[in-house]
């Protein structure tokens, strides 16, 4: 398989000055019970960029993503070592509230997971738990969020219908709208297009390009073309086998500008993966 072409637009952006650091991940290892899922990850995620995490299954890319908004706190036995700084504050400091973190750092999941409520109530859920009660305020937020998620025109006449009656792609865009409604700083996306057809995928990729001027986006993807299309920087993770205990631990192999990762990687492992010789 030939090397992937990185579109010129992405190349241009990657060459520009990097934005302010949003996350500074230093030497982070994550455990589930005694199982070490990822070890010694260090990387910096920049403001208003799209950062892609790629790599084979089990390499820990989703685990790292979920440590960034403390979603892994919800898994019994999960534990993080090392230091993650979010805009200068230590994310895992004792006094930090996970719910406050998640209000700033939203997440879109692999499988669209709208609540079994109306389209309107789905988008209004986040603002409501943030204390916004006034109908006119909520109306405005719902409209703005659905427009940002490129869904408004399709659903504006059926806002009170159940979200579960929508197509898969629409549901995923609704989940994005729901995340944007709380005006987060960062949007984490865990393989958001893996269950969608190419047209729906294209819509979501366009959407990411449109919103990245206002948000910082981190996306986990299995689709390398997608990483080249949407991301400014790419982190390539791989799996390290421990022969003694027969366990697999994820490691960060290389993190750089997307064009560099796909066209001129420093590590031969990266080259093998992005050209399809491995994984």
């Amino acid at each position: 398989m030939a090397k992937l072409e990185v579109p010129e637009t992405v190349k241009d952006k990657a060459a520009a000055e990097p934005g302010n650091p949003v996350f500074d991940v230093r030497d982070v290892s994550t455990y589930y019970g005694n199982f070490k899922a990822v070890k010694n990850v260090s990387l910096t995620i920049h403001e208003n960029e799209v950062t892609a995490f790629i790599g084979p299954s089990g390499c820990g890319k989703t685990t790292v993503l979920r440590t960034l908004n403390r979603m892994n706190d919800l898994i019994p036995g999960a534990r993080v070592e090392g230091d993650i700084t979010y805009r200068g504050q230590s994310l895992y400091a004792k006094q930090v509230s996970p719910t406050a973190v998640r209000r700033r750092i939203g997440m879109v999941f692999q499988k669209a997971n709208p609540f079994p409520k109306s389209i309107y109530d789905n988008v209004a859920y986040g603002p409501r738990i943030n204390g916004i009660r006034k109908k006119s305020d909520l109306d405005g937020i719902v409209e703005r969020s659905l427009k940002q998620a490129a869904l408004w025109d399709e659903v504006k006449n059926r806002l009170n219908k159940s979200a579960l009656g929508m197509s898969g792609g629409q549901q995923q865009r609704l989940c994005i709208a729901r995340t944007l409604a709380v005006e987060p700083d960062v949007v984490l996306m865990d393989e958001p297009c893996s269950a969608l057809d190419p047209i729906a995928t294209g819509r979501i990729e366009d959407l990411m390009q449109e919103i990245k001027s206002q948000y910082t986006i981190v996306i986990v993807t299995h689709n390398m073309q997608q990483a080249t299309r949407v991301s400014d920087r790419t982190a390539f993770y791989s799996v390290e086998r421990n022969e003694e205990s027969d366990t697999r631990t994820g490691v960060l192999v290389e993190y750089d500008q997307t064009a560099k990762i796909f066209e001129n990687p420093s590590n031969p492992l990266t080259g093998d993966y992005v050209t399809g010789r491995m994984g």
């Binding site: 998640r102 939203g106 999941f109 499988k111 859920y125 579960l164």
Partner: protein
Amino acid sequence: MTQTGPAATAGPSPLTERRGFGDRGFQALALIAGLLVLVVLVLIAVSTAQQSVSWFSTSGLNGIFSTHWDPASNRFGAMAFVYGTVISSVIAIIIAVPISIGVSLLLTQVVPGKIARPIVYVIDLLAVVPSVVWGLWGILVLAPWLQGIYGSISSGVNGIPVLDSLFGGPSTDGSSFFTAGIVLAIMVTPIITSLAREVIATVPAIDKEGAYALGATRWEMIRGAVWPHSQGGVVGAVLVGFGRAMGETMAAALVIGASAQVTSHLFYTGYSIPAVIANQFGEAAGTMRSALIGLGLFLFAITIVINLVARGIVERSARRARGA
């Protein structure tokens, strides 16, 4: 099926297949079992209706729907029993539902599985305590203890408009609509908890994560993700508990007080349909026997209506959740 292997088949193998004995046998068995349930139900309805005909014909509609039950003067009104059954069950549900939902949320959303499992085991054990045991406990332990409490509440609300007519005295020996309600509540709580817990446990983890990812607290997550998913099932569980409370015989017979009256005073003695059947059927004859069977038919009808309502609610919420 006997022709296997390339040598046995000249052309393409036939697409027809004779279904084996297991398949046909199972289909017949399932069909018979299904029909049997219907047949038994119809037979019960027909035979009880038949045997209560003389009650309907001698008392007439006015007699049946009166509150006057006096076998000595051949008055067999059903409404005091219907009233007692419904009131004691409503009290039971009002007490049991918040506790059941609270416990099932605790077990599914708050405590980790390792701790929840033994609690679930104990709760399920409560559900199998024979009802006569609850009844005896109610009449020997609970009622004497409640007697004093009823007395002080009654004197406390004396003269206050609505409360006086609900909780006013004079106090009894402790048997009352309310005592029956409490005992029934204890009996249906494990059932409602068990059903509600199973429904709530089916809420997908991904839905809960969706709420958490928006910065929801646990309570906000329960309201946003767990409740809309499970409300239909929980309503169903509550109505199953309601049906159980209405049909409960022994416990209610022992603690409700055995006096057929319709009154707003919850601390007064009352009577319920299953209790009067259990207490009086032994020495009943003629129209009275027919009336007691007829009361059974009443209860049957009420529980069927409640079950239909429950089914309707559950289905409607399932349809709404699917997006229709």
